[in-house]
């Protein structure tokens, strides 16, 4: 019973905080561009408006893909510890989270390509390629952390940082993970997959109304999973509230960075990730092996 | 008695010269007769022709090795004679003469006699190889054979000078170091042509691939076997294994070179003839380890090889572009080629194991490597040919019409031989016994000498 309540708490946090922060980030970008910007609750309106419309569907795989995407991400989110709010204590293995996350991605990709539009296929191909770029340095830097603390459980990784934050102990790994995080979020230098002006917003090209709304929810939850993992692993011990503060800080930082950068081409993304962050991640792993941890 | 083995075929050949069209149908009976005759003969019997005792007269020696060699060779002749389709009408006489000379070659205990029989065999082989208008190949063979014969004769002369005798047993008893320096080289060159040693085997592809089924079927099996027997007899029994280290190296070179050449052949018969060369080289290098085990392994392998080659050559020469109409033939072909490669379940596997075991026993690690390497190449081309014949690319319908079915007797004999291959794969005892007897006869030169020269 407690598990159900905790899961519900995690999901509701994801929903409210996630959508709020997305609105906040739009506001921040507007302010950087010297605009007034939409209200902070704009994304709630957008989601529910989208859900209220009468959309079109391209058949069962289109629907199923969306459901699988949202279901997979909800399942993933349930395993992410939000500070001391852990839905499944002991079972929050990092690999599980990372790979369960792929269910959502696969579902989305499948549903979108199932629409039959080549733009979405191109977008998905780009998204997968980008994943090949950012996932490797991210996993290496996180693996170095796991190797150092001898555990793969995210909450234990968080609790192991009693003396100081992992980010300070392994600064290179932290930087690599943050750069990879930008790629995961699809933030500006790495928003190649959904490039609206090139491929008509890529995977989402055929999404309308309800489907768009569900996908926006999925996107919100994914952001929560991605940043949540980073906060748990790198930013020290936190309870529920400090977790949300740290989360907000990271999210705003990512927004600030992305709002001033142009877009990479897809092969530039891969080249970049496999040169700089991967090299740094290896360096970090070497330091960990040698015991050079601050 | 054993003289009959030489005399009867010769006699019948001469008697039937006027009736040479009918002689085809007598062949099986002649072959059967000599087979029965051999089986009746007691082993360890020396026949002094004209009553002259050993060092002075001509002797025909029937010991373990020659007895079993005779059996093998005569079975081959018998099987071939049951396939009259492949024997062209003029060649029946040659067939008989070849039979006589090979029987003589195996039986003889005299170096000069062996030269004579060698020459008769060669001449018969020249004529055989000129069938299907393959005159150029036959000419090549003739030139090489003649040179080889000259060297063989030279070797015979030198050994007479060196030991004062022409009797093999006598030479074996009296050899000395001075003599050993020259004679093995000359004899080796003399035999190298017939035993297909690199680089003197240039005639083989041209002759075997003439398109006639009989030529390769008899040259690669019966004649090769008798030559290998003679080689073993001379180099192991007479020269006590002297000079074999050189043979070993030549054998290995032959294996590699022949397999490499076979890889690129686009004619099945040529590819098979290169395989035949390679197997001969392998055999020579195996027996040049000069022990009872290695000889057993070598002759066992040779038996497997000639069994397989018998099937392969006959089918390769008589089949067209595919097995579409001749499935049973195709099965026999495949079985033979698997045996050649040495897949388990088939005879070739057993001999390969035996060779490997012997080689390792002699601390010889080069031979297994070469053997396995050569087998890989052999697998490549033999199996490629199998696939090509089983799954022909684009056979035109009229071509399909043209390929005729092989007649039942050919198929039956080929299937029986193929079955023998499988049986040997499971129970190699028959072949192994033959090989062991030949090996023991060859290695035990003291017994040979006593046997021929009497208790001295």
């Amino acid at each position: 019973m407690m598990t159900i309540i905790r899961v519900a708490a995690v999901l509701l946090t994801g929903f409210f905080v996630g959508l709020t922060l997305e609105g906040v980030s739009r506001k921040i970008i507007a302010r950087i561009q010297r605009r007034y910007g939409p209200p902070w609750y704009q994304n709630f309106i957008d989601v529910f408006k989208a859900l209220s419309k009468n959309g079109i569907t391209h058949g069962w795989i289109f629907d199923f893909g969306i459901l699988m995407a949202l279901g997979g991400v909800i399942a993933t989110l349930a395993f992410v510890p939000l500070g001391d709010l852990v839905a499944f204590p002991g079972l929050d293995n990092l690999f599980i989270i990372v790979y369960l996350f792929a269910v959502g991605a696969l579902g989305m990709a499948m549903g979108m390509v199932g629409s039959g539009n080549p733009n979405s296929s191109i977008g998905v191909a780009r998204a997968l390629t980008q994943m090949l770029g950012y996932e490797i340095p991210y996993m290496i830097s996180v693996s170095a952390v796991m190797y150092y603390y001898k555990t793969a459980s995210v909450s234990e990784l968080m609790l192991s940082q009693q003396d100081s934050w992992t980010l300070l102990k392994m600064p290179l790994g932290g930087i690599v993970a943050f750069i990879s995080l930008l790629g995961m979020l699809g933030k500006k230098p790495f928003d190649t997959p959904i490039a609206p002006a090139e491929i008509a917003s890529g995977p989402m090209v055929e999404l309308s109304a309800k489907y768009m709304g569900l996908l926006m929810l999925m996107h919100t939850f994914s952001i929560f999973v991605e940043i949540g993992l980073f906060v748990d692993i790198f930013l020290g011990i936190s309870n529920y509230w400090t977790f949300l503060i740290k989360f907000t800080v990271i999210w705003i930082l990512a927004t600030l960075i992305s709002s001033v950068l142009p877009r990479f081409r897809i092969e530039q993304v891969v080249k970049f990730y496999w040169k700089v962050p991967l090299g740094l991640a290896f360096l970090q792993a070497l330091f960990v092996l040698l015991g050079w941890v601050f | 008695m054993s003289a009959l083995l030489i005399a009867v075929p010769l006699l019948i050949a001469f008697l039937f010269v006027p009736l040479k069209n009918k002689i085809k149908y007598i062949l099986p009976f002649v072959a059967l007769f000599s087979l029965i005759l051999i089986l009746k003969l007691p082993i360890e019997q020396v026949n002094f022709l004209g009553g002259w005792k050993a060092p002075f007269g001509i002797t025909l020696v029937l010991d373990n090795s020659s007895y079993y060699s005779l059996i093998v060779v005569n079975i081959i002749f018998f099987l071939l004679s049951l396939i009259p389709q492949i024997i062209e009408k003029d060649l029946s006489l040659i067939f008989l003469i070849l039979m006589a000379s090979i029987n003589g070659l195996i039986l003889t205990g005299d170096l000069f006699n062996s030269f004579v029989f060698l020459e008769i065999t060669s001449v018969a082989a020249y004529i055989l190889s000129s069938s299907k208008r393959n005159y150029y190949g036959a000419f090549k063979y003739l030139i090489l054979g003649s040179i080889a014969g000259a060297f063989y004769l030279l070797g015979t002369l030198y050994s007479y000078i060196g030991t004062g005798s022409l009797n093999l047993a006598d030479i074996s008893k009296n050899i000395n170091s001075e003599f050993l320096a020259v004679v093995p080289i000359l004899i080796f060159i003399g035999l190298a042509v017939e035993t297909k040693i690199f680089p003197l085997a240039g005639w083989v592809p041209d002759v075997y691939a003439s398109g006639s089924a009989l030529t390769p079927a008899i040259l690669a099996t019966g004649v090769t076997f008798s030559m290998m027997y003679l080689f073993g007899r001379i180099f192991i029994t007479v020269f006590h294994g002297e000079f074999l280290n050189v043979v070993y190296i030549f054998g290995l070179i032959t294996v590699v070179v022949a397999e490499l050449s076979a890889l690129k052949q686009d004619n099945l018969l040529r590819a098979l003839s290169f395989s035949s060369i390679a197997q001969a080289g392998l055999f020579l290098s195996v027996i040049s380890m000069n022990s009872y085990e290695s000889l057993t392994a070598g002759y066992f392998h040779l038996l497997n090889d000639i069994t397989a080659k018998f099937v392969l050559f006959i089918i390769a020469a008589s089949i067209g572009k595919s097995f579409i109409k001749n499935k049973t033939t195709g099965i026999a072909f495949s079985i033979a080629s698997f045996s050649l490669i040495g897949f388990p379940l088939f005879a070739g596997f057993r001999s390969k194991l035996l060779i490997l075991k012997t080689a390792f026993l002699n601390q010889n690690y080069i031979l297994p490597i070469i053997l396995l390497f050569a087998t890989i190449i052999e697998i490549a081309y033999v199996l490629r040919w199998n696939i090509k014949l089983w799954y022909p690319d684009n056979i035109l319908p009229q071509e399909k019409e043209k390929t005729q079915k092989l007649s039942w007797n050919v198929n039956l004999i080929l299937l029986i031989v193929a079955l023998v291959i499988i049986v040997i794969g499971f129970y190699p005892d028959i072949y192994l016994k033959i090989a062991q007897n030949i090996a023991s006869g060859l290695t035990n030169y003291r017994a040979y000498v006593t046997n021929v020269l009497g208790g001295m």
Partner: protein
């Protein structure tokens, strides 16, 4: 105009819709030049929750700036029919209203609302961004009141619109790249 009563859910939905208008702009004429200032920092369209969208599937507003030739009209209709309901059309500038300076051209149409239902016209050649924002605010009001019902009208009078379209564009009998 048949203005049937909305239920409570539809009223809430209309409130939401008016606060979050996503726009597909069909920029064939010179009017498109007025959009960048409306979107960027001077006038900042996003503060009303509006934004450009890449595909008709996600758009609420079809925003047509300028004249429509027979060839582009066909595409506009195609695009309009691909949009999910509810959907709104804004005609921008005189060209959509009465043909503007192209009123006697053989190649353009003069009145857009013969062919698709236009919820709101912005007069002028060309209207300034202020007029644009005014129009958007007006449209939002209409949506909140449930008056922006062009899409229902299109459904109800589908035959009429279709006839007009066919009269202007001609019926397409052969479906290939040379005839449509």
């Amino acid at each position: 105009m048949a203005n049937h009563e909305r239920n409570i859910w539809e009223k809430i939905a209309d409130q939401l819709r008016s606060k979050s208008l996503w726009m597909l702009h069909y920029c064939t004429g010179c009017g498109a030049i007025e959009l960048p200032p409306s979107m960027t920092s001077r006038f900042d369209m996003e503060r009303f929750g509006m934004g450009p969208m890449a595909t008709p599937r996600q758009a609420d507003i079809l925003f047509i700036t300028g004249y429509l030739s027979a060839k582009t009209l066909r595409r506009v209709i195609y695009t309009y029919e691909q949009m999910p309901e509810p959907k709104y059309v804004i005609g921008f500038g005189s060209c959509t209203l009465n043909g503007g300076i192209y009123y006697d051209s053989y190649a353009t149409i003069n009145r857009l609302d013969y062919y698709i239902p236009v919820d709101l016209y912005i007069a002028g050649c060309m209207p300034r961004p202020e007029a644009l924002l005014e129009a958007f605010n007006e449209l939002m009001k209409m949506i909140r009141k449930g008056e922006a019902n062009g899409w229902k009208q299109y459904k109800e009078n589908y035959d009429w619109y279709k006839n007009n379209q066919i009269r202007s564009l001609g019926e397409v009998l052969v479906h290939d790249e040379f005839h449509e």
